[in-house]
Symmetry: C2
Subunit: 222 residues, 2 copies
Amino acid sequence: MPFPTEAGRPVLTTNIVVFTLRDEQLKLLLVRRRNAPYQGYWSLPGGVVGEDEDIEANAMRKLEEGTGVSGVYLEQLYTFGTPERDPRERVISVAYYALVASKRLRLRTDEHSEGVGWFALDELPELAFDHAQMADTAHQRLAAKLDYSTIAFQFMPERFTLSDLQKVFQIILNCELDKRNFRKRMLAMDQIRQTSEVRRNGSHRPARLYRVNNPHEVQIIK
Amino acid sequence: MPFPTEAGRPVLTTNIVVFTLRDEQLKLLLVRRRNAPYQGYWSLPGGVVGEDEDIEANAMRKLEEGTGVSGVYLEQLYTFGTPERDPRERVISVAYYALVASKRLRLRTDEHSEGVGWFALDELPELAFDHAQMADTAHQRLAAKLDYSTIAFQFMPERFTLSDLQKVFQIILNCELDKRNFRKRMLAMDQIRQTSEVRRNGSHRPARLYRVNNPHEVQIIK
DNA sequence: CCTGTTAGTGTCATTGGCACACTAACCAGG
DNA sequence: CCTGGTTAGTGTGCCAATGACACTAACAGG
C-alpha cells in the first residue's frame, strides 16, 4: 500500500503528565492555552514532534522547558489518537509521564498568572482535549508501579527520612500505612541505605537520613 | 505553535503482534513483504491508518483481515517512532498485540507460500523494521499479564480441560508447573466452572471439561 | 485381566503480609 | 531541671498464601 498523500497525514504531538510532590500533595504541571481550541483552558504540557525528532526526545525537551530540570524519569504511557480529539484536524498524541523531585524545582509564586502552574491531582481544573484521561491513566500507572518497582525514589531528594518516604507512598496511594511494616518493607528491598546523619526538625527525636543506592535507575522488583 | 506544514508530518501506521497457540507452541502471525524496503522479509501485519480512522479500529481491521476472526482481545502495546525506523520517511507505528484461540482460525497448509504464516516465537525469521522488538515487548507483556489478569483464557476454546489450560501457561511462561498447585490456583480464581461433560481422549481416564465464566472480558485480578 | 497413560486429589512446612504498643530522643516552657 | 509534647524507632504473633510432594482413579487396548 502506498503512503498517503500529505493531506491525509496526522499531526504528531506529545503530552507529558509531570508529577511532583509539593505541600504534601501529588501535583501535576499544567499550562494555560493561549489559543483556540480550548483557549484559556489548562492543559498538559507538550508539543508538536519535529520532523526528525525522536518522540521521547521531544517529550524530554518539552519537560525540560516546562520544569527547568533535566534527567528526570520519563516513561511512555499511552497513545491517544481518536479522530475527533482535536477539533481542528487529526492529531496523534503520545502521552508520557514524568516524576520530578520537588527539591529540584525552582519555586515561583507567580506561576499561575504566567500561565503555568502546579495543581493538586484531586483539584484539577477542567482540562483541554482528552488530557483529563491522560492524567488519570498516568496516576493509575504510577500507583501500580509503587508496588513492583523502585519508582517512588524518583520523588526523593538526595537524603530523606523514612517518614518522608512513607508520606510519599501515602500521598500517591491515598491511604495510611503502618509505620513498622512500611519500614520493614523498605529496608528489605535493599535499595536504600542509612547515612551517618540525622535531621533535627523540631522539639523531638531527630530522624535518621537515608539515601537511594541507585538514584537514577528504576528497577522492577518482585 | 502552529501545526507543521504537511511536508513535515509523519505517516501513521499500526502493527499487530497476533499470538495463537498451535502445535503446542506460542506462534505469531507474519506476512511477507512484497515491496522495498525489506522486500521479501517477514513482518508483523499492519497498515496505514486512514485519515478518519481510529487507531485501534485500524488495528482491529488489519487483524481481522489477517486472521478472518473478529472480536478478539486487542491491547495497545507501545508506540514506536524513532526517525530512522523506516528508511523512506518518518513513520510512526502504534503497536498492538492480540490473542486468538487457535480453534477459531481456519488452518491453511499453503500459508507460507501465500506470504502469510504462523511462526513459533522461538523460531522467528529475521523481521523487517523494528518488528522483532515489538514481538519481544509483546511477549513480555503477555507473560506478565498471565499473573495478574485473566488474559490466558483468551486462548481457550469454549470447553477445555485443566490440563489444556496448564499447557497454555507452561508454553507462554516457558516453564513447568505443578499440577495440583496449578489446579488449586485456577479454581480459586473463580473464573471457570465445571461442565457436566468429559473428554475421552485415548486409553486413559477422561478429563472433565470446563468453561470460562466471562469469555469476552479480561479482568485484572489480585 | 493386565498394562500403559492421563486425570484427579490433600497435607505439611515455609513464607509473606498485616495488625498491633511501647520506648527513645529531643526541645520548649515553666 | 523537670515535665510535657512530639516525632523516631523497634519486634512479635497470627493468619493466609505459596510451594513441595505421591498416590489413586478411570479408561482403552491387547
